[in-house]
Amino acid sequence: MKMFKKSKIMVTLIIAALFFAVGTANVFAAPQQKNIILATTTSTQDSGLLDELIPVFEKETGYFVKTIAVGSGQAMTMGQKGEADVLLVHSPDAEKKFIDAGYGVNRRLVMHNDFIVIGPGTDPAKIKGIKSSAEALKLIAHANALFLSRSDKSGTHAKEMKLWKQAGINPAGQKWYQETGLGMGQTLSVAAEKKGYTLADRGTYLALKKNLGLDILVEGDAALLNIYHVIEVNSAKWPKVNAEGAKAFADFLVSQGTQAIIKTFGVDKFGSPLFFPDAGKKIEDLGK
């Protein structure tokens, strides 16, 4: 009899605890208007920039931003299906196709940083200091030096493919060309482990530099510019898209205050900023 009561009490407590837990479980299904789905890239999220910007935006506007970090390719696919409200991506050619097809509107320049070609200190392909990144890749191919590719349709991968094309090389299937299918951070780890070359965005490289043991070998080429745009998903195609919220966020990104934050982001941690704010500028003027 006592035993029965005790277990009844325990069960009741557990039930109560769980209901309490579920009840206080964060934002209740906040009405659609208050939620914004932001599809962006892993490198953007991994840099930590969004962790800085989004709380500011949320406090200012009261919106709740759901940041879904996937590759640029997947982000745009989500936009195509109306599953995201606003995109922050860095794959210009694909973006142009996206806009032309009418899936997105208001493509606005936000910031840029650059890609770098990194590799082992021993530099077997002797690319250090070469000005043209396409040239450097050609040398890597001729030297049959190990090169790691993200191969995941991300912005980084798109840039890499463009450079190979420029160099006139088709790396697919070659023994020295290994495709990880992973995010930037992981690909860098693999490159470090195997002492191979890879293309990385400066931000992620700086964040992981101390663990890697890889050096920057080629930088500064205009072709290596990594340009970020914000695109609002076209609500005419998908009525469920939160057009208002998307516009609010995009406006926020290009606003003066935000651009100022972007300008100084990363300086205290890495010595140099990770991104360069570009709102309102023309593409041709970048990097100067």
Binding site: M3, S7, M10, I14, I15, L18, A21, V22, A25, N26, V27, A29, Q32, N35, I37, T42, D46, D51, F64, K66, T67, I68, A69, K81, G82, E83, L182, G183, G185, Q186, L188, S189, T204, A207, L208, N211, W238, K240
Partner: protein, 232 residues
């Protein structure tokens, strides 16, 4: 090896300092997986018991389906749930994609067949005359089921632990339907994947250790309940 030691140290630091983000992630893991397990307990035990105690045409088929469900790949569940609840999906109007509620749903779908299958086997394992004896003593159907469930306490709690273990460690579906949103749908497993992807191995290991500790403590509690003998 050094990395693992770094990870252990980091885990210690995070726990001792009551790092708010880690605490939040841990608490959320517990809430989501706990709720999912609780739901699976309810549905799993009741349906499992009902199937075990009743005869109906196609019973064998139903049991096969339940047993197959125990091995459902979580990622497939995640994909399926995502397709159901995204904006263009049939349940899109619920607007629960990228919320912890979606994670609870996905985890409950993963855990329920496990609890159901084990409950089913546990009840079937009782002596067939026991059910008759209890009814003969004047029990109503409900009283009879309650007594049988209590008699199966040992395997049923094993079922709960199996269900809980399956979902607290789940990551594929949780990322897909939850979105790993900081402070909202980020749990220990999804955070571990993210930190690994970023190359922050020490944090990743630390989160892994915390997850193991959490799972251990919960199972310790459940094992106590399971193993407690009624009397001397």
């Amino acid at each position: 090896m050094e990395l693992i030691i770094q990870g252990i140290i980091k885990a210690f630091e995070l726990i001792i300092s009551f790092d708010p983000e880690v605490l939040g992630i841990t608490w959320l893991s517990l809430k989501i997986s706990g709720t999912a397990t609780f739901i699976s307990l309810f549905i799993g035990v009741s349906i499992g018991t009902a199937v075990a105690l009743n005869n109906f045409p196609g019973k064998r088929l139903v049991i096969s389906l339940i047993n197959t469900g125990m091995g459902l790949p979580p990622v497939v569940v995640g994909l399926f749930v995502t397709i159901m609840i995204w904006r263009s999906g049939p349940l899109g109007f619920l607007e629960i994609l990228y919320t912890p509620y979606a994670m609870i749903v996905a985890q409950a779908i993963i855990a329920t067949p496990i609890v159901m299958g084990i409950s089913l086997a546990a009840i079937q394992n009782l002596h067939p005359n026991l059910r008759l004896q209890i009814l003969a003593l004047g029990a109503s159907r409900l009283q009879m089921v309650w007594v049988l469930v209590k008699e199966s306490k040992l395997p049923l709690l094993a079922a709960v632990m199996a269900g809980f273990g399956g979902v607290i460690s789940e990551v594929g579906a949780s990322i897909m339907v939850g979105g790993n949103i900081k402070g909202y749908s980020r749990v220990l497993t999804t955070a571990t994947v993210m930190e690994t992807g970023r190359g922050n191995f020490d944090i990743a290991i630390a989160l892994g250790i915390i997850l193991l500790i959490l799972a251990f403590l919960i199972n310790l509690l459940l094992t106590q309940i399971q193993q407690r003998q009624p009397l001397r």
